[in-house]
């Protein structure tokens, strides 16, 4: 059944990879582009290939990466979520306020993630049973959730510290989530990203739910005929996205540790979608892999880091990043058409 409903969708294959499979995988183009970019920056700048800078890049891409993993599910399911930047702000700030109100860490972070799941659930319900295109439903939610964050905080910055009411032990644990280092070297944000990506890879490649997402995104009609509950699959993809956006928002507040509802995560949804698309996911659904998304996030992160290291003007940086997105997706689509 699975093979039938996956017609049109390009899911990763189970089983072992051979070298030639790896070289011809759809991620190969993105990987080669990343490799070329890294080589160029290594020779063009003095500071790129240092452990400090690479770990910085790792940390800087982690939050974008966690959200892009969620977006991969949504895009593969043939939908899009524009509310992720607002969810990131609302849930992070809400958790921060709970910590300042004296809540224990687990409860504050847990409730923040649950809030993200609820936002995802609403997005999912509106896009399926509500029959709204997800572009419109989540555009509305982008505004509503941002408004809710402003109402919640009254537009004031939320700073998590002892002076504002957080208990010292909770604050230490919270800050470790965002600012800490595993073994004193690897940023915790990067650790969380790797864990999230690994779990997502497992779900997408090794479980029935993963295959159903590809089936739904590849052809919703075929999936429905095959007995798959299309709406349920899409709703779960949105819930997963909401949870990951919330978790990224919480980690962001743990890192800084201050945020403001009017600025936090503003426009982030476009970065997330861009990184996911550069990694090979398709806006028309049925295509995308976690490995591709990781590479897409890395390209955007390395690019931003490298342009600053090279001393490129900020206005040129914006141009270059847009240019890379267009070229990367263009090459991918061109090569896909040729191989089809």
């Amino acid at each position: 059944m699975v093979d039938v409903v996956r017609s049109g969708a390009r899911a990763p294959t189970r089983g072992s990879f051979s070298l030639s499979q790896l070289l011809w995988a759809r991620e190969a183009g993105v990987f080669l582009a990343l490799l070329a970019l890294c080589l160029f920056l290594t020779f063009a700048t003095g500071g790129f290939l240092t452990s400090l800078n690479l770990l910085n890049v790792g940390r800087q891409i982690s939050l974008l990466g966690i959200m892009a993993v969620g977006m991969t599910f949504v895009l593969i399911a043939g939908e899009v979520d524009l509310s992720v930047g607002s969810t990131y702000a609302f849930c992070g700030l809400a958790s921060g306020m709970l910590i300042c109100a004296g809540w224990p860490l687990f409860a504050a972070v847990g409730l923040g993630v649950v809030a993200g799941c609820v936002i995802g659930l609403i997005n999912g319900l509106l896009s399926t049973y509500g029959r709204l295109p997800s572009l419109i439903a989540t555009l509305g939610m982008l505004s509503m959730v941002r408004g809710a964050a402003l109402i919640l905080t009254n537009g004031q910055p939320v700073t998590v510290n002892v002076r504002n009411g957080a208990s010292e032990s909770v604050l230490n644990a919270f800050e470790f989530m965002g600012q800490g280092y595993l073994f004193g070297v690897i940023p915790m944000q990067l650790v969380f990203f790797v864990i999230v990506a690994a779990i997502a890879w497992f779900i997408l490649s090794m479980t029935n739910f993963g295959f159903r997402i590809f089936a739904v995104g590849g052809s919703a009609k075929a999936a429905r005929v095959s007995g798959i509950h299309v709406s349920a699959v899409k709703i779960w993809a949105f819930i997963l996205m909401g949870a990951l956006a919330a978790f990224a928002g919480i980690l962001s507040l743990a890192f800084l540790p201050s945020g403001q509802a009017g600025r936090t995560g503003l426009g982030l949804e476009l970065d997330v979608i861009a990184a996911t698309i550069v990694g090979g996911a398709s806006l028309s659904g049925g295509e995308g892999t976690i490995l591709g998304t990781i590479l897409g996030v890395l390209i955007i992160g390395v690019m931003r880091n490298g342009l600053v290291l090279m001393g490129v003007s900020p206005f040129v940086q914006e141009f270059m990043i847009g240019f890379v997105i267009v070229v990367a997706v263009g090459i991918d689509k061109w090569s896909t058409r040729r191989s089809a």
Binding site: G47, G155, L256, S258, L309, F315
Partner: protein
């Protein structure tokens, strides 16, 4: 010693150079008949105070000043404006409310975009003053706020002093192309030119998302480790620069001078990671916005009000710190 002397001066709000605008009177202004009748009847006036982004950190303080102005002057004052710096939304809102307003105070998203609207409101016989961010492109009656170029000069002078006249300075801003940023940067560069041993190495445009601000500073400091001073032009890259200094154990080695009194900024000044920050008294600006219009409509001559700069360092920051 020189630094200590400067820090002592910092205790109070320093008035800046007075604006060149002369006093204006309502008798010289073609006030709309409906407003004339309202003033004559003694009914409470409807004043609208439009802010360029009601979702930013300063909006609550400005709103509080507006409320105080409304209570003191016994008028109805509405605090309005777009969420996010959206010039179109600000224009649309003002156009919608034009028929109801007896006076407009405005801080423009963009001088160019809002200038014609301000002139249209004035042409309809409604008095308009600017506050917080001036709009020199318009025919506004008066301005209540900080002289941005001068506040930049003050920041530049502070940086020159804390660096003892030598070093490399990086300027950071969340929006390098915005008028307020260009004005402050101009003042900073002017002031730093008077210190021959100081070189401005770059202006870093960080964007406004907190994560991005921090990452941009982190990358830029790695790209040029010779930087010894970070001068932030606004509220939001100031605490990010201080946090970077604190986390990288560069306290004292890399000096930070910035703007405004966000909670995090106050704490970083207390810990010595930020050497000085300049406040722009947002509540006073909100109050003056309302008060100028009420005074004008009641026949008193008005002119621009300089709300000054408040310089805060480790020596006087406790005055504004939360207890």
């Amino acid at each position: 010693m020189k630094i200590a002397a400067l820090m002592v001066v910092a205790a109070t709000l320093l008035p800046l150079s007075a604006k060149a605008d002369g006093p204006v009177k309502v008798s010289d202004f073609p006030l709309a008949d409906r407003i004339k009748e309202k003033v004559a009847s003694g009914k409470p006036l409807d004043i609208y105070v439009s802010y360029h982004d009601v979702s930013n950190e300063f909006a609550p303080a400005i709103k509080a000043g507006v409320a105080k102005g409304a209570a003191d002057d016994k008028v109805n004052a509405q605090f309005i404006g777009p969420v996010g710096s959206d010039a179109n939304a600000q224009i649309n809102e003002i156009e919608t409310l034009m028929g109801k307003m007896d006076g407009l105070a405005i801080s423009s998203v963009s001088s160019d975009a809002l200038g014609p609207v301000i002139d249209r409101v004035l042409k309809a016989g409604i008095p308009v003053v600017t506050y917080n961010t001036d709009n020199p492109n318009s025919k506004r009656l008066a301005f209540a706020g900080q002289d941005l170029v001068q506040s930049g000069r003050e920041a530049g002078k502070l940086m020159g002093t804390v660096l003892d006249g030598k070093g490399k300075v990086m300027i950071t801003t969340i929006d390098a192309a915005a008028q307020w940023s260009l004005d402050r940067e101009k003042g900073v560069r002017e002031a730093l030119k008077t210190f021959p041993g100081i070189e401005v190495v770059k202006t870093l445009n960080t964007g406004s998302d907190p994560q991005k601000i921090y990452s941009e500073i982190e990358n830029a400091m790695l790209a040029d480790p010779s930087v010894t001073g970070i001068l932030s032009l606004e509220c939001c890259s100031t605490p990010a620069a201080g946090t970077w200094v604190q986390r990288n154990k560069k306290t004292g080695a890399i000096k930070v001078v910035g703007f405004d009194l966000l909670d995090q900024t106050v704490q970083l000044v207390q810990s010595g990671d930020i050497q000085a920050t300049i406040d722009q008294a947002p509540e006073k600006q909100g109050f003056e916005a309302v008060d100028l219009l009420v005074q004008f409509l009641n026949g008193k001559p008005i002119e621009s009000v300089d709300t000054g700069v408040g310089i805060y360092t480790k020596d006087n920051i406790d005055k504004v710190a939360k207890k």
